[in-house]
Protein backbone atom coordinates (compact mmCIF):
# COMPACT_ATOMS: atom_id res chain seq x y z
CA UNK A 1 0.00 0.00 0.00
CA UNK A 2 1.22 3.44 -0.79
CA UNK A 3 -0.45 4.56 2.41
CA UNK A 4 2.64 3.29 4.17
CA UNK A 5 4.69 5.95 2.50
CA UNK A 6 2.68 8.74 4.00
CA UNK A 7 4.11 10.11 7.21
CA UNK A 8 0.56 10.24 8.56
CA UNK A 9 0.55 6.53 9.27
CA UNK A 10 3.59 6.72 11.53
CA UNK A 11 2.08 9.73 13.26
CA UNK A 12 -1.10 7.71 13.78
CA UNK A 13 0.78 4.83 15.35
CA UNK A 14 2.88 7.07 17.60
CA UNK A 15 -0.24 9.02 18.57
CA UNK A 16 -1.98 5.80 19.62
CA UNK A 17 1.05 4.77 21.67
CA UNK A 18 1.20 8.17 23.35
CA UNK A 19 -2.51 8.01 24.10
CA UNK A 20 -2.04 4.58 25.64
CA UNK A 21 0.78 5.94 27.81
CA UNK A 22 -1.39 8.80 29.04
CA UNK A 23 -4.37 6.55 29.58
CA UNK A 24 -2.27 4.17 31.68
CA UNK A 25 -1.69 6.96 34.20
CA UNK A 26 -5.35 6.98 35.14
CA UNK A 27 -6.13 3.25 35.00
CA UNK A 28 -6.23 0.55 37.64
CA UNK A 29 -3.40 -2.04 37.55
CA UNK A 30 -5.45 -4.46 35.45
CA UNK A 31 -6.12 -1.80 32.85
CA UNK A 32 -2.41 -0.94 32.75
CA UNK A 33 -1.64 -4.63 32.29
CA UNK A 34 -4.07 -4.82 29.35
CA UNK A 35 -2.39 -1.84 27.69
CA UNK A 36 1.01 -3.51 28.12
CA UNK A 37 -0.40 -6.72 26.67
CA UNK A 38 -1.72 -4.70 23.73
CA UNK A 39 1.79 -3.40 23.08
CA UNK A 40 3.23 -6.93 23.28
CA UNK A 41 0.63 -8.38 20.90
CA UNK A 42 1.00 -5.44 18.55
CA UNK A 43 4.75 -6.00 18.17
CA UNK A 44 4.15 -9.69 17.32
CA UNK A 45 1.32 -8.80 14.94
CA UNK A 46 3.43 -6.14 13.18
CA UNK A 47 6.01 -8.85 12.54
CA UNK A 48 3.41 -11.27 11.22
CA UNK A 49 1.95 -8.52 9.05
CA UNK A 50 5.33 -8.24 7.28
CA UNK A 51 5.18 -11.95 6.47
CA UNK A 52 1.49 -12.14 5.61
CA UNK A 53 0.52 -8.68 4.46
CA UNK A 54 3.69 -7.72 2.62
CA UNK A 55 5.44 -10.93 1.57
CA UNK A 56 2.10 -12.69 1.06
CA UNK A 57 3.08 -15.84 2.97
CA UNK A 58 1.09 -17.53 5.72
CA UNK A 59 3.17 -18.18 8.81
CA UNK A 60 1.87 -20.24 11.69
CA UNK A 61 5.12 -19.94 13.62
CA UNK A 62 4.68 -16.53 15.20
CA UNK A 63 3.66 -18.13 18.54
CA UNK A 64 6.87 -20.16 18.48
CA UNK A 65 8.96 -17.06 17.85
CA UNK A 66 7.20 -15.22 20.68
CA UNK A 67 7.89 -18.28 22.85
CA UNK A 68 11.54 -18.32 21.90
CA UNK A 69 11.83 -14.63 22.78
CA UNK A 70 10.04 -15.17 26.10
CA UNK A 71 12.13 -18.19 27.13
CA UNK A 72 15.38 -16.56 26.03
CA UNK A 73 14.68 -13.60 28.29
CA UNK A 74 13.36 -15.78 31.15
CA UNK A 75 16.46 -17.99 31.01
CA UNK A 76 19.10 -15.29 30.56
CA UNK A 77 17.78 -12.58 32.93
CA UNK A 78 18.55 -14.48 36.18
CA UNK A 79 22.16 -14.88 34.97
CA UNK A 80 22.58 -11.14 35.12
CA UNK A 81 22.29 -10.52 31.39
CA UNK A 82 20.78 -7.06 30.86
CA UNK A 83 17.24 -6.96 29.44
CA UNK A 84 18.29 -5.16 26.28
CA UNK A 85 20.70 -7.97 25.48
CA UNK A 86 18.17 -10.74 26.17
CA UNK A 87 15.68 -8.96 23.92
CA UNK A 88 18.20 -8.76 21.08
CA UNK A 89 19.24 -12.38 21.65
CA UNK A 90 15.62 -13.55 21.36
CA UNK A 91 15.19 -11.51 18.19
CA UNK A 92 18.44 -12.87 16.72
CA UNK A 93 17.58 -16.51 17.44
CA UNK A 94 14.13 -16.06 15.89
CA UNK A 95 15.63 -14.33 12.86
CA UNK A 96 18.16 -17.14 12.34
CA UNK A 97 15.49 -19.81 12.72
CA UNK A 98 13.30 -17.92 10.26
CA UNK A 99 16.07 -17.93 7.64
CA UNK A 100 16.83 -21.59 8.30
CA UNK A 101 13.21 -22.68 7.83
CA UNK A 102 12.14 -20.18 5.22
CA UNK A 103 15.00 -20.94 2.84
CA UNK A 104 13.90 -24.45 1.92
CA UNK A 105 10.17 -23.75 2.30
CA UNK A 106 10.25 -20.79 -0.08
CA UNK A 107 12.00 -22.76 -2.80
CA UNK A 108 8.65 -24.33 -3.53
CA UNK A 109 5.55 -22.28 -4.15
CA UNK A 110 2.17 -22.53 -2.56
CA UNK A 111 1.39 -23.13 1.04
CA UNK A 112 4.61 -24.85 2.04
CA UNK A 113 5.72 -22.13 4.43
CA UNK A 114 2.38 -22.47 6.24
CA UNK A 115 3.03 -26.17 6.82
CA UNK A 116 6.68 -25.80 7.77
CA UNK A 117 5.80 -23.08 10.27
CA UNK A 118 2.93 -25.18 11.59
CA UNK A 119 5.47 -27.95 12.22
CA UNK A 120 7.84 -25.50 13.90
CA UNK A 121 5.19 -24.30 16.34
CA UNK A 122 4.35 -27.87 17.32
CA UNK A 123 8.02 -28.80 17.70
CA UNK A 124 8.86 -25.67 19.69
CA UNK A 125 5.95 -26.37 22.02
CA UNK A 126 7.26 -29.90 22.62
CA UNK A 127 10.75 -28.56 23.36
CA UNK A 128 9.35 -25.96 25.78
CA UNK A 129 7.37 -28.69 27.53
CA UNK A 130 9.92 -31.52 27.54
CA UNK A 131 13.34 -29.94 28.01
CA UNK A 132 12.90 -29.25 31.71
CA UNK A 133 16.61 -28.67 32.30
CA UNK A 134 16.37 -25.54 30.18
CA UNK A 135 12.75 -24.40 30.26
CA UNK A 136 11.42 -25.78 33.52
CA UNK A 137 9.11 -28.12 31.61
CA UNK A 138 5.39 -27.96 32.34
CA UNK A 139 6.06 -25.93 35.49
CA UNK A 140 7.79 -23.26 33.47
CA UNK A 141 9.95 -20.47 34.86
CA UNK A 142 8.51 -18.19 37.51
CA UNK A 143 9.60 -15.06 39.42
CA UNK A 144 10.96 -13.35 36.34
CA UNK A 145 12.16 -9.96 37.55
CA UNK A 146 11.35 -6.85 35.59
CA UNK A 147 14.39 -4.81 34.62
CA UNK A 148 15.05 -1.72 36.75
CA UNK A 149 13.79 0.97 36.74
CA UNK A 150 10.68 -0.46 35.05
CA UNK A 151 9.65 -2.73 37.92
CA UNK A 152 6.15 -1.38 38.65
CA UNK A 153 3.18 -2.13 36.44
CA UNK A 154 3.10 1.47 35.18
CA UNK A 155 6.85 1.56 34.76
CA UNK A 156 6.89 -1.63 32.75
CA UNK A 157 4.01 -0.32 30.66
CA UNK A 158 6.26 2.59 29.66
CA UNK A 159 8.96 0.14 28.59
CA UNK A 160 6.48 -1.88 26.50
CA UNK A 161 5.12 1.25 24.82
CA UNK A 162 8.65 2.56 24.28
CA UNK A 163 9.73 -0.62 22.54
CA UNK A 164 6.53 -0.56 20.47
CA UNK A 165 7.31 3.02 19.43
CA UNK A 166 10.83 2.01 18.36
CA UNK A 167 9.50 -0.99 16.44
CA UNK A 168 6.88 1.22 14.79
CA UNK A 169 9.54 3.63 13.61
CA UNK A 170 11.84 0.86 12.38
CA UNK A 171 9.09 -0.89 10.42
CA UNK A 172 7.85 2.40 9.00
CA UNK A 173 11.40 3.10 7.82
CA UNK A 174 11.69 -0.39 6.36
CA UNK A 175 8.43 -0.11 4.46
CA UNK A 176 9.28 3.36 3.18
CA UNK A 177 12.67 2.16 1.91
CA UNK A 178 13.22 0.34 -1.39
CA UNK A 179 12.69 -2.87 0.58
CA UNK A 180 9.10 -1.93 1.34
CA UNK A 181 8.54 -1.16 -2.33
CA UNK A 182 9.95 -4.58 -3.22
CA UNK A 183 7.71 -6.26 -0.61
CA UNK A 184 4.60 -4.69 -2.13
CA UNK A 185 5.78 -5.64 -5.61
CA UNK A 186 6.33 -9.29 -4.78
CA UNK A 187 2.99 -9.51 -3.06
CA UNK A 188 1.14 -7.97 -6.01
CA UNK A 189 2.96 -9.62 -8.89
CA UNK A 190 6.03 -11.75 -8.22
CA UNK A 191 6.64 -12.57 -11.90
CA UNK A 192 6.73 -8.93 -12.92
CA UNK A 193 8.84 -8.07 -9.86
CA UNK A 194 11.41 -10.69 -10.87
CA UNK A 195 11.54 -9.28 -14.38
CA UNK A 196 12.56 -5.95 -12.83
CA UNK A 197 15.47 -7.52 -10.98
CA UNK A 198 13.70 -8.01 -7.65
CA UNK A 199 15.07 -11.19 -6.08
CA UNK A 200 11.70 -12.58 -5.02
CA UNK A 201 13.11 -15.40 -2.91
CA UNK A 202 15.55 -13.21 -0.99
CA UNK A 203 12.98 -10.51 -0.22
CA UNK A 204 10.31 -13.03 0.82
CA UNK A 205 12.82 -14.70 3.10
CA UNK A 206 13.86 -11.36 4.59
CA UNK A 207 10.26 -10.30 5.24
CA UNK A 208 9.59 -13.62 6.96
CA UNK A 209 12.80 -13.53 9.03
CA UNK A 210 12.29 -9.90 10.11
CA UNK A 211 8.72 -10.80 11.05
CA UNK A 212 10.09 -13.70 13.10
CA UNK A 213 12.60 -11.42 14.83
CA UNK A 214 9.76 -9.12 15.88
CA UNK A 215 8.02 -12.17 17.32
CA UNK A 216 11.16 -12.65 19.43
CA UNK A 217 11.03 -9.02 20.58
CA UNK A 218 7.39 -9.43 21.56
CA UNK A 219 8.24 -12.52 23.62
CA UNK A 220 11.07 -10.72 25.38
CA UNK A 221 8.54 -8.08 26.51
CA UNK A 222 5.97 -10.71 27.45
CA UNK A 223 8.08 -12.70 29.94
CA UNK A 224 8.76 -9.89 32.47
CA UNK A 225 5.20 -8.58 31.96
CA UNK A 226 3.53 -11.74 33.28
CA UNK A 227 6.68 -12.69 35.24
CA UNK A 228 6.03 -16.34 34.51
CA UNK A 229 6.49 -18.40 31.33
CA UNK A 230 5.18 -21.88 30.66
CA UNK A 231 4.55 -23.71 27.36
CA UNK A 232 0.78 -23.39 26.91
CA UNK A 233 0.54 -19.74 25.76
CA UNK A 234 2.88 -20.54 22.84
CA UNK A 235 0.85 -23.34 21.29
CA UNK A 236 -0.67 -23.28 17.83
CA UNK A 237 -3.78 -21.53 19.13
CA UNK A 238 -1.75 -18.38 19.77
CA UNK A 239 -0.33 -18.46 16.23
CA UNK A 240 -3.87 -18.62 14.91
CA UNK A 241 -4.93 -15.85 17.25
CA UNK A 242 -2.09 -13.60 15.99
CA UNK A 243 -3.09 -14.34 12.39
CA UNK A 244 -6.65 -13.31 13.25
CA UNK A 245 -5.33 -10.04 14.73
CA UNK A 246 -3.53 -9.26 11.47
CA UNK A 247 -6.50 -9.99 9.23
CA UNK A 248 -9.01 -8.28 11.52
CA UNK A 249 -6.92 -5.12 11.55
CA UNK A 250 -6.15 -5.42 7.86
CA UNK A 251 -3.26 -7.42 6.46
CA UNK A 252 -0.89 -5.29 4.43
CA UNK A 253 -1.93 -2.08 6.13
CA UNK A 254 0.53 -0.31 8.42
CA UNK A 255 -1.99 0.43 11.16
CA UNK A 256 -3.77 -2.92 10.90
CA UNK A 257 -1.83 -4.75 13.66
CA UNK A 258 -2.46 -1.93 16.17
CA UNK A 259 -6.19 -2.21 15.62
CA UNK A 260 -6.26 -6.01 15.41
CA UNK A 261 -4.32 -6.39 18.69
CA UNK A 262 -6.61 -3.87 20.38
CA UNK A 263 -9.67 -5.88 19.36
CA UNK A 264 -8.02 -9.09 20.57
CA UNK A 265 -7.23 -7.55 23.96
CA UNK A 266 -10.47 -5.64 24.55
CA UNK A 267 -13.15 -7.81 22.98
CA UNK A 268 -12.83 -10.70 25.48
CA UNK A 269 -13.09 -8.15 28.30
CA UNK A 270 -16.28 -6.66 26.88
CA UNK A 271 -17.77 -10.04 26.06
CA UNK A 272 -17.03 -11.57 29.46
CA UNK A 273 -20.69 -12.48 29.94
CA UNK A 274 -20.36 -14.95 27.06
CA UNK A 275 -17.86 -17.07 29.03
CA UNK A 276 -16.61 -19.93 26.86
CA UNK A 277 -18.80 -18.94 23.94
CA UNK A 278 -16.57 -15.92 23.39
CA UNK A 279 -14.19 -17.73 21.00
CA UNK A 280 -17.08 -19.21 19.03
CA UNK A 281 -18.50 -15.76 18.48
CA UNK A 282 -15.09 -14.20 17.79
CA UNK A 283 -14.22 -16.85 15.16
CA UNK A 284 -17.62 -16.39 13.52
CA UNK A 285 -17.13 -12.61 13.45
CA UNK A 286 -13.68 -13.01 11.89
CA UNK A 287 -15.12 -15.24 9.17
CA UNK A 288 -17.88 -12.72 8.47
CA UNK A 289 -15.34 -9.91 8.33
CA UNK A 290 -13.14 -11.92 5.96
CA UNK A 291 -16.09 -12.49 3.65
CA UNK A 292 -17.48 -8.97 3.78
CA UNK A 293 -14.27 -6.91 4.08
CA UNK A 294 -11.07 -8.85 3.44
CA UNK A 295 -9.14 -5.57 3.76
CA UNK A 296 -9.88 -5.56 7.49
CA UNK A 297 -11.11 -2.87 9.86
CA UNK A 298 -8.49 -0.30 8.83
CA UNK A 299 -9.35 -0.79 5.15
CA UNK A 300 -13.02 -0.54 6.00
CA UNK A 301 -12.48 2.69 7.92
CA UNK A 302 -10.38 4.15 5.11
CA UNK A 303 -13.14 3.31 2.66
CA UNK A 304 -15.70 4.97 4.90
CA UNK A 305 -13.57 8.09 5.24
CA UNK A 306 -13.02 8.46 1.52
CA UNK A 307 -16.15 10.27 0.45
CA UNK A 308 -15.80 9.48 -3.21
CA UNK A 309 -15.21 5.78 -3.82
CA UNK A 310 -12.68 5.29 -6.64
CA UNK A 311 -13.55 1.70 -7.48
CA UNK A 312 -11.19 -1.15 -6.98
CA UNK A 313 -7.86 -0.28 -8.59
CA UNK A 314 -6.59 -3.87 -8.57
CA UNK A 315 -9.62 -5.03 -10.52
CA UNK A 316 -9.07 -2.56 -13.32
CA UNK A 317 -5.39 -3.28 -13.75
CA UNK A 318 -5.84 -6.48 -15.68
CA UNK A 319 -7.74 -6.00 -18.90
Amino acid sequence: MTAVRQAGTLAGALGAILAAGLLAQGLAPYGVYLLSLWAVYTVAAIGLNLTLGYAGQISLAQAAFVGIGAYTTAILLPHGVPFGATLLAGAAISFALGVLLGFPALRVQGHYLAFVTLALTTLAFLVFRNESWLTGGVGGISHIARPAPFTSGRGYNLLCLGVLALVSFAVWWLLRSPWGRAFVALRENPVRAASLGVDVRAYTLLAFAIGAALGGVSGALYAPLVQYVEPSPFALAFSLSLLMMVVVGGSGSFLGPYVGALVAVLLPEWLRFLHDYYLVLYAALVILLLIAAPEGLVGLAAKGLRRRPQGHPAAEAKP
Binding site: T2, V184, E188, P313
Partner: protein
Amino acid sequence: MSPVLEARELHRHFGGVKAVNGISFAVAEREILGVIGPNGSGKSTLFNCLLGQIAPSSGRVLLDGVDVTGLRPSELNRRGVSRTFQLLQVFPQLSVRENLILAGQEHVGGRIRRLFGRPDAGLGGAADHMMELFRLTHLSALLAGSLSYGQQKLLDAAMAFMAGPRLVLLDEPAGGVNLTLLGAFRERLRAMNAEAGATFVVIEHNMDFVMSLCSRVICIAEGRIIADGLPGEVRENPEVIEAYLGH
Protein backbone atom coordinates in the same frame (compact mmCIF):
# COMPACT_ATOMS: atom_id res chain seq x y z
CA MET B 1 32.50 -7.91 -31.39
CA SER B 2 29.97 -10.48 -30.17
CA PRO B 3 26.27 -9.87 -30.70
CA VAL B 4 24.18 -8.53 -27.81
CA LEU B 5 21.95 -11.58 -27.80
CA GLU B 6 22.56 -14.91 -29.39
CA ALA B 7 20.41 -18.04 -29.39
CA ARG B 8 22.18 -21.26 -30.36
CA GLU B 9 20.15 -24.28 -31.39
CA LEU B 10 17.39 -23.69 -28.84
CA HIS B 11 14.98 -26.56 -28.32
CA ARG B 12 12.05 -26.77 -25.98
CA HIS B 13 9.79 -29.78 -25.93
CA PHE B 14 6.60 -30.25 -23.93
CA GLY B 15 6.05 -33.98 -23.89
CA GLY B 16 5.98 -34.82 -27.58
CA VAL B 17 5.26 -31.26 -28.70
CA LYS B 18 8.32 -29.47 -30.09
CA ALA B 19 7.34 -25.88 -29.33
CA VAL B 20 10.82 -24.58 -30.14
CA ASN B 21 12.67 -26.86 -32.49
CA GLY B 22 16.20 -25.67 -33.15
CA ILE B 23 16.22 -21.88 -33.30
CA SER B 24 19.44 -19.92 -33.78
CA PHE B 25 19.82 -16.21 -34.37
CA ALA B 26 21.90 -13.27 -33.27
CA VAL B 27 20.90 -9.67 -32.52
CA ALA B 28 23.48 -6.98 -33.13
CA GLU B 29 23.89 -3.87 -31.02
CA ARG B 30 21.13 -1.27 -31.50
CA GLU B 31 19.21 -3.54 -33.79
CA ILE B 32 15.39 -3.68 -33.52
CA LEU B 33 14.53 -7.26 -34.31
CA GLY B 34 10.91 -8.19 -34.94
CA VAL B 35 9.73 -11.75 -34.31
CA ILE B 36 6.55 -12.71 -36.12
CA GLY B 37 4.72 -15.95 -36.74
CA PRO B 38 1.23 -17.39 -36.62
CA ASN B 39 -0.39 -18.33 -33.32
CA GLY B 40 1.16 -21.41 -31.76
CA SER B 41 4.32 -21.05 -33.81
CA GLY B 42 6.54 -21.08 -30.72
CA LYS B 43 7.18 -17.33 -30.34
CA SER B 44 6.09 -17.16 -26.73
CA THR B 45 8.00 -20.28 -25.75
CA LEU B 46 11.07 -18.84 -27.42
CA PHE B 47 10.65 -15.60 -25.45
CA ASN B 48 10.22 -17.53 -22.22
CA CYS B 49 13.43 -19.48 -22.91
CA LEU B 50 15.37 -16.30 -23.69
CA LEU B 51 14.12 -14.69 -20.47
CA GLY B 52 14.79 -17.56 -18.09
CA GLN B 53 11.07 -18.03 -17.47
CA ILE B 54 11.41 -21.65 -18.53
CA ALA B 55 14.59 -23.64 -19.15
CA PRO B 56 15.26 -24.75 -22.74
CA SER B 57 15.42 -28.52 -23.30
CA SER B 58 18.74 -27.95 -25.05
CA GLY B 59 20.71 -25.13 -26.63
CA ARG B 60 22.34 -21.98 -25.27
CA VAL B 61 21.47 -18.33 -24.77
CA LEU B 62 24.36 -15.87 -24.83
CA LEU B 63 24.35 -12.29 -23.69
CA ASP B 64 27.32 -10.29 -25.01
CA GLY B 65 29.05 -13.59 -25.62
CA VAL B 66 28.48 -14.80 -22.03
CA ASP B 67 26.41 -17.94 -21.50
CA VAL B 68 23.31 -17.01 -19.50
CA THR B 69 21.25 -20.16 -20.13
CA GLY B 70 19.19 -21.11 -17.09
CA LEU B 71 19.69 -17.87 -15.16
CA ARG B 72 16.65 -16.71 -13.21
CA PRO B 73 14.65 -13.75 -14.60
CA SER B 74 15.77 -11.46 -11.77
CA GLU B 75 19.43 -12.30 -12.41
CA LEU B 76 19.03 -11.74 -16.14
CA ASN B 77 17.41 -8.40 -15.44
CA ARG B 78 20.32 -7.32 -13.28
CA ARG B 79 22.60 -8.18 -16.21
CA GLY B 80 20.73 -5.70 -18.37
CA VAL B 81 17.87 -7.69 -19.89
CA SER B 82 14.58 -5.87 -19.53
CA ARG B 83 11.14 -6.86 -20.72
CA THR B 84 7.48 -6.04 -21.01
CA PHE B 85 4.66 -8.57 -20.89
CA GLN B 86 1.87 -9.31 -23.29
CA LEU B 87 -0.67 -8.36 -20.64
CA LEU B 88 -0.18 -5.13 -18.75
CA GLN B 89 1.93 -5.60 -15.68
CA VAL B 90 2.19 -2.46 -13.59
CA PHE B 91 1.80 -2.46 -9.81
CA PRO B 92 -1.67 -0.99 -9.25
CA GLN B 93 -1.13 -0.18 -5.56
CA LEU B 94 2.04 1.85 -6.20
CA SER B 95 2.06 5.36 -7.66
CA VAL B 96 3.43 5.97 -11.15
CA ARG B 97 6.63 7.35 -9.70
CA GLU B 98 6.97 4.43 -7.28
CA ASN B 99 6.53 1.97 -10.15
CA LEU B 100 9.41 3.61 -11.99
CA ILE B 101 11.67 3.74 -8.95
CA LEU B 102 10.95 0.08 -8.27
CA ALA B 103 11.96 -0.74 -11.83
CA GLY B 104 15.39 0.75 -11.24
CA GLN B 105 16.13 0.23 -7.56
CA GLU B 106 17.55 -3.29 -7.72
CA HIS B 107 20.28 -2.00 -10.02
CA VAL B 108 21.77 0.58 -7.66
CA GLY B 109 23.99 -0.17 -4.68
CA GLY B 110 23.82 -3.18 -2.39
CA ARG B 111 20.71 -4.40 -0.67
CA ILE B 112 21.81 -3.24 2.79
CA ARG B 113 22.73 0.20 1.45
CA ARG B 114 19.26 0.48 -0.05
CA LEU B 115 17.67 -0.25 3.32
CA PHE B 116 19.48 2.58 5.08
CA GLY B 117 19.79 4.94 2.16
CA ARG B 118 17.27 7.31 0.63
CA PRO B 119 13.72 6.03 0.21
CA ASP B 120 13.85 6.73 -3.53
CA ALA B 121 17.21 4.93 -3.83
CA GLY B 122 18.55 8.09 -5.50
CA LEU B 123 16.34 7.41 -8.51
CA GLY B 124 13.87 10.28 -8.08
CA GLY B 125 15.53 12.36 -10.79
CA ALA B 126 15.75 9.44 -13.20
CA ALA B 127 12.07 8.64 -12.60
CA ASP B 128 11.09 12.26 -13.25
CA HIS B 129 13.10 12.24 -16.47
CA MET B 130 11.47 9.00 -17.61
CA MET B 131 8.02 10.44 -16.86
CA GLU B 132 8.85 13.43 -19.06
CA LEU B 133 9.97 11.21 -21.92
CA PHE B 134 6.80 9.13 -21.73
CA ARG B 135 4.51 12.12 -21.01
CA LEU B 136 3.48 10.82 -17.59
CA THR B 137 4.66 13.71 -15.42
CA HIS B 138 1.15 14.97 -14.60
CA LEU B 139 0.25 11.48 -13.32
CA SER B 140 3.28 11.06 -11.06
CA ALA B 141 1.47 10.71 -7.72
CA LEU B 142 -1.53 8.70 -8.93
CA LEU B 143 -1.84 5.01 -8.22
CA ALA B 144 -0.95 3.07 -11.35
CA GLY B 145 -4.19 1.13 -11.00
CA SER B 146 -6.22 4.30 -11.51
CA LEU B 147 -4.69 5.17 -14.90
CA SER B 148 -6.31 4.56 -18.26
CA TYR B 149 -5.21 1.54 -20.26
CA GLY B 150 -3.07 3.58 -22.62
CA GLN B 151 -1.37 5.40 -19.75
CA GLN B 152 -0.62 2.11 -18.02
CA LYS B 153 0.82 0.83 -21.28
CA LEU B 154 3.19 3.80 -21.42
CA LEU B 155 4.17 3.30 -17.80
CA ASP B 156 4.73 -0.40 -18.44
CA ALA B 157 7.11 0.45 -21.28
CA ALA B 158 8.82 3.23 -19.34
CA MET B 159 9.56 0.79 -16.52
CA ALA B 160 11.52 -1.36 -18.95
CA PHE B 161 13.94 1.52 -19.53
CA MET B 162 14.50 2.65 -15.93
CA ALA B 163 17.56 0.51 -15.38
CA GLY B 164 19.31 1.58 -18.60
CA PRO B 165 18.97 -1.85 -20.14
CA ARG B 166 21.31 -3.31 -22.75
CA LEU B 167 18.52 -5.40 -24.26
CA VAL B 168 14.76 -4.93 -24.15
CA LEU B 169 12.33 -7.69 -25.07
CA LEU B 170 8.86 -6.41 -25.86
CA ASP B 171 6.00 -8.91 -25.93
CA GLU B 172 3.23 -7.55 -28.18
CA PRO B 173 3.73 -3.90 -27.26
CA ALA B 174 1.01 -2.71 -29.66
CA GLY B 175 -1.68 -5.00 -28.28
CA GLY B 176 -4.72 -3.07 -27.08
CA VAL B 177 -3.23 0.33 -27.93
CA ASN B 178 -5.43 2.63 -29.99
CA LEU B 179 -4.22 4.07 -33.28
CA THR B 180 -3.57 7.59 -32.00
CA LEU B 181 -1.37 6.31 -29.24
CA LEU B 182 0.30 3.72 -31.45
CA GLY B 183 2.20 6.23 -33.57
CA ALA B 184 3.46 8.12 -30.56
CA PHE B 185 4.34 4.87 -28.87
CA ARG B 186 6.39 3.73 -31.88
CA GLU B 187 8.22 7.05 -32.03
CA ARG B 188 8.99 6.80 -28.30
CA LEU B 189 10.45 3.31 -28.74
CA ARG B 190 12.49 4.46 -31.74
CA ALA B 191 13.80 7.37 -29.72
CA MET B 192 14.74 5.13 -26.81
CA ASN B 193 16.61 2.93 -29.26
CA ALA B 194 18.47 5.89 -30.70
CA GLU B 195 19.14 7.83 -27.48
CA ALA B 196 19.64 5.10 -24.91
CA GLY B 197 21.38 2.75 -27.32
CA ALA B 198 19.23 -0.19 -26.26
CA THR B 199 18.80 -3.21 -28.47
CA PHE B 200 15.22 -4.47 -28.97
CA VAL B 201 13.56 -7.76 -29.68
CA VAL B 202 9.85 -7.34 -30.40
CA ILE B 203 7.16 -10.01 -30.69
CA GLU B 204 4.18 -8.51 -32.43
CA HIS B 205 1.02 -9.45 -34.29
CA ASN B 206 0.37 -6.02 -35.71
CA MET B 207 2.23 -6.30 -39.03
CA ASP B 208 2.24 -2.58 -39.79
CA PHE B 209 3.71 -1.84 -36.40
CA VAL B 210 6.47 -4.44 -36.84
CA MET B 211 7.29 -3.37 -40.37
CA SER B 212 7.53 0.30 -39.45
CA LEU B 213 9.45 -0.19 -36.21
CA CYS B 214 11.90 -3.00 -36.86
CA SER B 215 15.16 -2.98 -38.77
CA ARG B 216 15.07 -6.73 -39.25
CA VAL B 217 12.36 -9.38 -38.95
CA ILE B 218 12.41 -13.13 -38.43
CA CYS B 219 9.38 -15.33 -38.95
CA ILE B 220 8.81 -18.46 -36.94
CA ALA B 221 6.55 -21.35 -37.85
CA GLU B 222 6.29 -24.71 -36.16
CA GLY B 223 9.19 -23.97 -33.87
CA ARG B 224 11.66 -23.03 -36.63
CA ILE B 225 12.82 -19.87 -38.36
CA ILE B 226 11.45 -19.84 -41.90
CA ALA B 227 12.50 -16.34 -42.91
CA ASP B 228 15.06 -13.78 -41.77
CA GLY B 229 15.70 -10.43 -43.39
CA LEU B 230 14.58 -6.85 -43.96
CA PRO B 231 10.92 -6.19 -43.12
CA GLY B 232 9.95 -5.80 -46.76
CA GLU B 233 11.65 -9.02 -47.81
CA VAL B 234 10.04 -11.07 -45.06
CA ARG B 235 6.63 -9.65 -45.83
CA GLU B 236 6.93 -10.74 -49.48
CA ASN B 237 8.45 -14.14 -48.66
CA PRO B 238 6.11 -16.84 -50.07
CA GLU B 239 6.90 -19.22 -47.20
CA VAL B 240 5.81 -16.59 -44.70
CA ILE B 241 2.59 -15.93 -46.56
CA GLU B 242 2.00 -19.66 -46.75
CA ALA B 243 2.58 -20.06 -43.00
CA TYR B 244 0.02 -17.39 -42.19
CA LEU B 245 -2.55 -18.46 -44.74
CA GLY B 246 -2.12 -22.14 -44.01
CA HIS B 247 -3.46 -21.63 -40.53
